[in-house]
Amino acid sequence: MVPVMILLLGYGEHEAAGTSLGAIVVIALAGTITQAAYGNVDFANAALIGLPAVAGVLVGTRFQQRVRGDVISYLFACLLFAVTIYLVAK
């Protein structure tokens, strides 16, 4: 979503990141309800990985305010390449 917001909708990097999080709340909620209907959601593991992630997001948003937009874009591209390599190699 962030690349689409930046590449197609003309958002700045910081705004794209912030607005994307707002959109993700709605999307993840709908996705979770649907996946729960299939019985695929593991609630204990979700808490185990999700609660530390809430602590992480507080650190991440704070740190992001001190970083330039182009650095955010390059970091995002690195994340995407890492995901590609992981998925192809596994």
């Binding site: 707002g22 993700i24 999307i27 695929n40 999700g50 991440g60 994340l79 995407l80 390449f81």
Partner: protein, 134 residues
């Protein structure tokens, strides 16, 4: 268990930095550390992402980076896509799902690099040809 906790922290930091949900870290972590299937990991990560995105959006709003109406509109429009995506994830073979996602990530990553490099060159005065100045 410690692997899941550490992956969670890392996913959260990335979510705050880059505006992602953190699923790119959570899904492989759930497969590796909790032995979940790809579909099970994606489903569990979706639930874990909700509080992360909520808290992240709240913080970003305080920094003036959240366009709330547009975010909610984009999110609502994506619900249809998410529902179809979840149904497809339960139909498509696992390897096909992984490779499709890998291809999408590679294309978007390349576009991000090209765009950022070009806009950097445009805004950098030293990169402009001498005859264009003054």
């Amino acid at each position: 268990m410690i692997g899941l906790v550490l992956a969670g922290v890392l996913a959260g930091v990335l979510a705050g930095m880059l505006g992602v949900g953190g699923g790119a870290i959570m899904v492989p972590a759930l497969v590796i550390f909790a032995g979940a299937s790809q579909v099970g990991a994606e489903a569990t990560a979706l639930l874990a992402i909700i509080p992360v995105a909520l808290v992240g959006a709240w913080r970003q709003n305080r920094y003036g980076n959240l366009r709330l109406k547009e975010g909610l509109t984009l999110g609502s429009l994506s619900i249809f896509g998410a529902v179809v995506g979840v149904a497809l994830a339960n139909l498509i073979p696992q390897r096909g799902l992984e490779l499709s996602f890998a291809a999408l990530a590679a294309v978007l990553g390349l576009q991000m690099v090209v765009r950022t490099y070009r806009s950097g060159r445009k805004s950098d005065p030293e990169s402009a040809p001498p005859f264009d100045q003054g």
